[in-house]
Every structure is written in C-alpha cells, then in structure tokens.
Symmetry: C2
C-alpha cells in the first residue's frame, strides 16, 4: 500500500479512513488530528498553561509529545499508584520522556504522600480498584491544576476509550455521566477546565505514534484492570469495528453532534449543590469530599492539602 499523503511505501494502515501512511506522514496525521480536535472543540488557547495527566502509557505520552510539538505550554503530572511491578516502570517512562524533551514533570505518590495505594484503598472504601484509582486521579489532577495555576488539565482518553465509556453510559442510561461525557468540560466551581485532545485518534494509532517516535511507554495493562467492565465494552466495540471500520468514530462523534439532548440540564443541576470540602477545599456535594473519605478509610487519617514533589525535568 502507498502513503495517502506522499505516495511513498505505507507503514501504518488506518482502516476507518480507508487509508495508509508512511511513518512521517502518519506522525503528521496524528498531530493534525489532535490540532483539529483542539480547534473543533475550542479546547486550548495559545499561551494557556496546560497540565497533562501522565500515566507513562502510550496515550498520555503521545498526547504530551504532540502538545509540545504543537507549541503548547504543557507540563506533566504523574501519580504513583503504589502498584508493585507496574508503577515503578510507568514512572520511569514518564521521567525519561520528560528528561528527553526537557519538559517539566510534577509527581504525586499515593503511598508516600497519602499513605495508601489503589489496591488497599479499593478494599477499604468498598470500591472496585478502577473506581478508587479514577477518584484519586481526578481529585489530584484537579487540585494540582487549581493550586498551581494551570488553566486546563489534558487527559489522554482516545477514541476507543471514549467510545467504550459512551457504550457503558448508554447501556445503563446514566444521564449524569452522559451529560459530562464531552471532549471539553468548562472550568467552574473549583474545577479546572478538562480537555481530551486525543478523541480523534484510536488506541492503535497512539501506540504506533509512540513506536515511530521512539517513545518508550508502559505496554502492560494495569494489573488491577482484569475483569473491568470497560474492557468488556472495548472488546464488544472492537468486534463491531472489525466488521464495519469507522463505527466507533461514527458512534462517538454522532453522540457529540446528535446526542446533546441526553442529560441536558443534569450537569447544571448537579453543580448547584456543590460547596468546598471542609477538609481539602475541593468542590463536593457531600459533607466531606469522596477523596478525603477514601483517604481517611484507606490510610486511617484525613489529610489537609496535597503535597507535591518535583520529578525529572525540573
């Protein structure tokens, strides 16, 4: 097959676009898709300070790399989850990337800074590990961004992620989640703006991007994700995509264009009850925010504010 852009020998196929690209044109394609998503959804303005949620996996490192290449002022934040054998190499990949690109990486470590890890927190708070992890990460990214003056948090959710989350939200008709499932969530009430610039790229495209760019990333799936329902939704959509390439993109982008009626007003209604958590200041509808409750149960003690250690690249 030939590269759609330059006619050279193609190295990466993109079936949903019925296209293939040579390495250089594929990297340009990825950057263009991110630039287009940013532009289309008004995610970022020039000069804004961006905090990239960095896990050490392919998506977050590709995102950070592309944002830097596109000229955005993007720092990273890596959160160590305390998962033996998984967290250490993930952190190393994040630090190596930051050092190589002379980029600034902030770090928070759950065991060192909060006295718990995802595995014990899940058990203590009667959540699934993915729920405890997501809660911890959302809270810490939000707080760090607000406290350190970042305008926006950028996360590496790709098209496959968003399509699978959308399927899960629709299978359960969770209108509040559907209302929030947007590529941009505006700032307000103590939350920073949050954006997902990879929504136009599939999972295998961010993997190919990292390989072609020589970015080392954590290839292993998180050891806590086995049996995760989200992965089941991904498998189901993969099977459909295999038969009808382009279905995932049509599904997700169709939702953005035509599913807007779902949950309209639900998000606004939810935000009405928000007040600052008396312990940490994060917006919450409960007496104590869910994160502070999790910390109290998992580590046996409440914490006031989040400490930050600076990692490589500073």
């Amino acid at each position: 097959m030939k590269c759609r852009s330059c006619g050279a020998r193609a190295a990466v196929e993109v079936r949903r676009h019925n296209s293939a690209f040579c390495p250089q044109c594929f990297l340009s394609y990825c950057r263009n898709q991110v630039a287009r998503a940013i532009d289309e959804h008004k995610m970022l303005q020039r000069g804004e300070r961006v905090l990239v949620a960095v896990s050490g996996g392919k998506d977050s490192l590709a995102l950070w790399d592309i944002l830097l290449d596109l000229g955005y002022d993007a720092d990273g934040l890596y959160i160590g989850l305390g998962l033996a054998g998984y967290s250490e190499p993930s952190g190393e990949h994040a630090r190596a990337f930051a050092a190589g690109r002379q980029a600034k990486l902030l770090e928070v470590d759950l065991p060192a800074d909060f006295g718990y890890d995802v595995r014990t927190a899940a058990a203590a708070d009667r959540r699934t590990p993915c729920s405890a992890c997501g809660l911890s990460k959302r809270h810490i990214f939000d707080r760090q961004a607000v406290d350190k003056g970042y305008d926006v948090v950028a996360t590496g959710h790709n098209l496959d992620d968003e399509a699978a989350v959308l399927l899960g939200n629709l299978l359960h008709w969770d209108l509040a989640y559907l209302a929030r499932q947007r590529p941009v969530l505006p700032a307000g009430d103590g939350f920073p703006r949050k954006v997902k610039p990879l929504v136009r790229l599939a999972e295998r495209e961010t993997a190919a991007y990292c390989v072609l760019r020589g970015i080392e990333y954590q290839v292993e799936e998180c050891p806590m994700s086995a049996g995760n329902r989200h992965l089941g939704y991904k498998d189901a959509l993969d099977a459909i995509e295999e038969r009808s390439p382009g279905t995932k993109a049509a599904f997700y982008h169709g939702f953005l264009e035509r599913g807007g009626a779902l949950g309209a007003g639900v998000a606004e209604e939810e935000r009405k009850g928000l007040h600052p958590c008396p312990n940490c200041g994060a917006p919450t509808v409960s007496e104590l925010c869910a994160f502070c409750r999790l910390v109290a149960r998992a580590a046996g003690r409440p914490r006031r504010r989040l400490p930050v250690s600076s990692g490589a690249g500073l």
Copy 2:
C-alpha cells in the same frame, strides 16, 4: 436449582433475574411477562382484533400462542418470502400451529402474489436482502391490517432483537429510527397501531417456551442473514450480557424510561410529509411508495392492491 415460584426442580434458568423455573412456572412466567408488557405500554384493549406477524419461528409462534392463551382475538398472517428450502418449512410450521389451535392464518406469497422473491428483489432494488424483506413485510402487514379491519399488528420482536436494534441505532445516532423504536407505535395516517408484546422476554426464553409447549418452529437462521450487521450487534451484546446478566434488559428498558429526549419531534416531522401512494394507497413521502418501487423493479410490473389467499385454520 429449585423453581423460584413453586420450589420444584427447576428446568429453565433466567440469569438476568437470578432465577430458575420448573416447566409449568416457566410458561406462567412467559405469559406474565407478555401480560405485563401489554399492560405497561397499553398495547392492546380487550375485544380488539389483533393481526400477529407470523414467520414460523419461535418468537412469532410463542407470541401468537400466548396472546390466544391470554384471551385476545388474534389471527396470524404468514408471508412466504420465496426462499427455497427455508420458506416451505417455515410456512408449514405456521400452518400446523394454526390448525392445532384452530386459529385463523392469512397468507401472502411474494412469488405467487407479487412475482418476486426477497433474493431477486434485493438485487433489483439495490438493497440488502434484510432491507428488501423488512420493507416487504412491513408494507404487507400494514396494508392487510388496514384493509381487513384489524386494530393492531403484533410482531414477535423480543428483548434481544430490540436491544440489538437499539445498539445499531445508537451506534449511528439515527434519531428518526430511535424515535420510532418504541414498544407501541400509535395508528395514524394510514398506518395501523403496531405493538411488540415480547419486549420483556429474551430469545432463549421464547425458544424454551416453544420447546416446553411442544410448538414446532423453524430453527434455522434465515439463509439471507449471514453477515447481517444486526447479528453482529447481537453477538456484541451477548458477550456483555454473559459477563453482566441483566445488561440487555437495563439497556432497553432504560432507553424507554430515560432516552425519550432522543429524536423527540423527529417522528412527527416525518409524518407531516405523508400522502397516499397513487398506486397502492399506502402512506408515503415519495411519489410512489418504496414497496411499489421495489415490486416494479423486482417483478417488472406495478401492482395495485394486495391479493390474499387464506391458509390453514380458516
């Protein structure tokens, strides 16, 4: 396992209800689910004349059987599709059931009455076989019901069917189809009311129902359905249901309860442009209705009105 209702030895498991039933209680469960769907969605009134769309498969024969048992005035209509090796035994099952229950079965035969079969019609009208078949069946059921004074057409769409159709409609965000995907479509503008009383029963439940009732049905999948996208959606949902029993029911019933905002107004808007087809009188938005166009292309001649031959049980 023991029967949930009577404590006898269970024969049929219903995982999504975390239940099992003995044969007699399972049959009662099926009847109750149908009665509940009819009641919940105000599908039928006592004394109304019901035309059951009968294919000779498990769903339509179970539906007809249950409607008769529930005391409804239900006749059947079988449409011969002209698929060699498949249509003959399907028709035989429909006739045998009607004869056994002394019920009235109307019959229409596409090759004999309209000069085409589904296979050639699909090619001539540049449709998939499933599209040509669905169009033919919808048109003929509608016309027969209106012409013969039936109040309502009842179809055997079960929970698995509806969940798969819903998934397909959501994957493509087809708002017009979503607006119409209801267990009851009211009569109006030349259309009879249409109802789906099996929406609370899964596919394997209607199969078990027929087996336990000794109803012989067409077990083979339609030979034209290979590669049908709908079957791909069924497979995807089956895989999810296997991991999380009850997901399909939550998906479909959640849509009915909370997805109402989707496509609101679209169905009304569509009906505004309707006028009677100058050839057959069916409501259409086109110059000639899609069915008359299909017949003209497939059989090379337009037909005026639908002839009817009476089958077994009359």
